[in-house]
């Protein structure tokens, strides 16, 4: 009984870590001379409790959730995908090119083509480090980081060069025609269908990882690639394709930013959503079913930050600092693993002690009588 309670306490340790981080963050708010309670109240009210605020949060949830899934999937096989940011950019680029350059077609055909083009762009960008990892043993972390910078610059170049709208004050492309825009999910707001797709993909990923041989193969590769190879898992193709799939998820995040929110290809259109995906993956303890909650929370922090800045005059960058604290605390909390034997020994010893103390009490009372 007690052991199960302690186990749950351990399972929830990212939650405790987040609370601790918010508490530590109140120190940062205090040094700016603002009351942390007012600031946090404004932040959460602005992010979750108000129609417009909630819509703003959902707008950010779409890319952050998809980027989170792009990190979680390869992590099951032990691959750290830091390249979601670059994959977002390539997804945005490919979908914008499809939307702006393909000949007119009925939207029912063209929209799926644009979405698939975005997924393909991100997927190919993810496949490069996947291939180099699988067949040349190179470190995927450093490769994906470098590819991020390259992708960001490619998009800046395209949006500021070949595809730039004439007379635009800074790099962005022509507007995509309205019939290709994603549908909205909340009237009169920017909240678009991207978040719904993200949610559906999170579910699909959960079931695929839990119940299919793909999930089993990925987990085996993650635990011991040599053992997986002996068990007949084609490890190298798996690495290439899992990185393709991850890249495609990142690409979708970029696609929905372009088709659902911005309607143009802007340079620097992602303010680091790919890196937020890493935070989501660890907040969710690599579980796709928890990822939507983690992404929603993180988006709320970001969306609420602007409301808070307007309300109490606190620099919204404080949220970036607090987000950093959140990931440090969550990372640290993962270091405390639940050790069943140690805890049950501890409980046993306590029970014994309780019994003995109870006995002495009993004898003591008897003496009193």
């Amino acid at each position: 009984m007690m052991l199960t309670a302690i186990r749950y306490f351990y399972v929830l340790r990212p939650v405790w870590a987040v609370l601790l981080a918010l508490f530590a963050g109140s120190g940062l708010i205090l040094i700016a001379g603002v009351s942390p309670i007012t600031a946090y109240a404004e932040l959460f009210k602005g992010a979750f409790l108000d129609y417009w605020g909630l819509a703003g949060t959902l707008v950010k949830t779409s890319p952050i959730l998809l980027a989170g899934l792009a990190v979680i999937l390869p992590l099951r096989a032990g691959l750290l995908n830091i390249g979601a940011e670059g994959q977002i950019y390539m997804g945005g680029l490919f979908s914008a090119m499809a939307a702006l350059l393909l000949p007119a077609m009925p939207p029912l055909i063209l929209v799926p083509i644009c979405v698939l083009a975005g997924a393909l762009g991100g997927g190919l960008w993810g496949m490069i480090p996947g291939y180099l990892k699988a067949y040349h043993g190179m470190n995927e972390v450093i490769l994906t980081i470098l590819l991020n910078f390259i992708a960001i610059n490619i998009v800046s170049y395209v949006a500021g060069g070949p595809m730039m709208q004439e007379g635009a004050p800074y790099p962005y492309s022509e507007e995509i025609r309205q019939e290709l825009w994603l549908p909205w999910i909340m009237d009169g707001t920017d909240a678009h269908a991207g978040v719904v797709v993200g949610l559906a993909l999170a579910m699909v990923m959960y079931f695929v990882l839990k119940y299919s041989t793909i999930g089993f193969a990925l987990d085996t590769i993650g635990k011991n690639a040599t053992a997986a190879r002996y068990a007949g898992v084609p490890v190298r193709p798996y690495i290439v394709w899992v990185m393709f799939a991850a890249g495609a998820l990142g690409g979708l995040a970029g696609t929905f930013e372009v088709l659902g929110l911005k309607y143009r290809l802007y340079h620097h259109f992602s303010p680091g959503y790919g890196f937020d995906g890493i935070v989501v993956a660890f907040l969710a303890t690599v579980n796709p079913l928890v990822a939507p909650i983690a992404a929603f929370f993180l988006s709320g922090l970001k969306a609420g930050a602007l409301v808070m800045q307007r309300a109490v005059g606190l620099e919204s960058t404080v949220i970036e600092a607090i987000q950093g604290l959140v990931i440090i605390f969550v990372a640290a909390s993962l270091g405390f693993k639940f050790n069943a034997t140690r805890w049950s020994l501890f409980l046993q010893r306590r029970r014994k002690l309780d019994a003995e103390v109870g006995d002495t009490f009993a004898t003591f009372r008897k003496g009193e009588e």
């Binding site: 180099l132 190179m138 170049y157 404080v318 970036e320």
Partner: protein, 312 residues
């Protein structure tokens, strides 16, 4: 490429290359120390940024570049302490710990910089002036490139050979390399794995911090948000290319510095081409260099693997 033939233009070009490579040299050589002890230091980027932030605030508050140098080293060492606590102390995945520090540093420095430097953020900070070394600086071309630099550059000239000497010629360096390759054996020989790793990570981050100090105190004299701009990651590529050897890392960084100087030259030479086409050159150079030349290198055997005493 005709500028390579004119001595003055050549020395200007080499000088720019050197200046652009110095922050990554500090970070990469620092990274070598930590990675040879078996700890991935992906937090180099955050340490560079922290060093730059500390340098700016220190120089702003005290009015001297030495105050900046001191605070820059302190902030970067603090980041190192967190990395050591997470990756060595709590045995958390080293990459995760490093990413966490990078994210924390980006947020913390931009927030605190607005708070502390505020409206003065664009004001020029006191920095290190170039010092010309007599005699040596009169060597044609190279003298002007190498010996009319500032204090931090001369410090780099000392630190790289010193790091090489400590790593390959001292008992502590032998311990460090042993731990990076086979911590179990090192532990049974009585070397404290966690202590050596802690020291290695601290030195590593402090050195990356020096790179950040250089950015602010010798190069641009202001702090801007996220001014490290991926230099820490290029340093990581450089140390792989340099095969986890301080001298190799130095050479790789000089190569990246040169490609950066070249792209700047191209940028100014062709103003009608969008500059982003050129600003990706250093990253493409790093990527291609890694793919083409670093395919068969052998990293320290125990890198990235946490060491728990009595664990498997």
């Amino acid at each position: 490429m005709d500028f390579l033939l004119d001595p003055q233009a050549l020395s200007d070009f080499l000088s720019t290359s050197l200046r652009l490579s110095i922050p990554i040299i500090f970070a990469a050589v620092g990274g070598v120390i930590s990675e040879r002890s078996g700890v991935f230091n992906i937090a180099l980027e955050g340490c560079l940024l922290g060093g730059a932030f500390g340098a700016a605030v220190g120089a702003y508050v005290t009015g001297t570049p030495f105050g900046g140098l001191f605070l820059g080293l302190a902030v970067a060492s603090l980041a190192g302490l967190i990395l050591a606590a997470l990756a060595v102390g709590l045995a958390i995945n080293q990459l995760v710990a490093g990413i966490a520090i990078n994210i924390l540093m980006i947020g913390l420095t931009s927030y605190l910089a607005r708070l502390i430097l505020g409206a003065d953020a664009t004001e020029t900070l006191p920095g290190f002036a170039p010092l010309t070394i007599p005699l040596l600086s009169s060597i044609p071309v190279l003298g002007q490139v190498l010996f009319t630099q500032d204090l931090l550059t001369y410090l780099m000239y000392l630190l790289v050979p010193l790091t090489w000497w400590v790593m390959y010629k001292t008992p502590w360096g032998l311990n460090l390399r042993a731990i990076g390759d086979y911590p179990v054996a090192a532990d049974s020989a009585g070397i404290s794995v966690s202590r050596v790793r802690l020291i290695a990570v601290l030195i590593s981050c402090a050195m990356a911090g020096l790179g950040g100090c250089y950015l602010v105190l010798s190069q641009v004299f202001v702090f801007t948000e996220h001014m490290s701009a991926g230099k820490g990651f290029i340093a990581l590529a450089a140390l792989i290319l340099g095969r986890w050897n301080p001298v190799g890392a130095l050479l790789a960084c000089l190569f990246f510095g040169m490609s950066d100087a070249l792209q700047l030259r191209l940028q100014f030479g062709s103003p009608d081409v969008p500059y982003q086409l050129f600003s990706m050159v250093p990253f493409i150079a790093s990527f291609l260099a890694l793919v083409l030349f670093a395919g068969k290198v052998r990293p320290p055997a125990a890198i990235g693997i946490k060491y728990v005493r009595g664990g498997k």
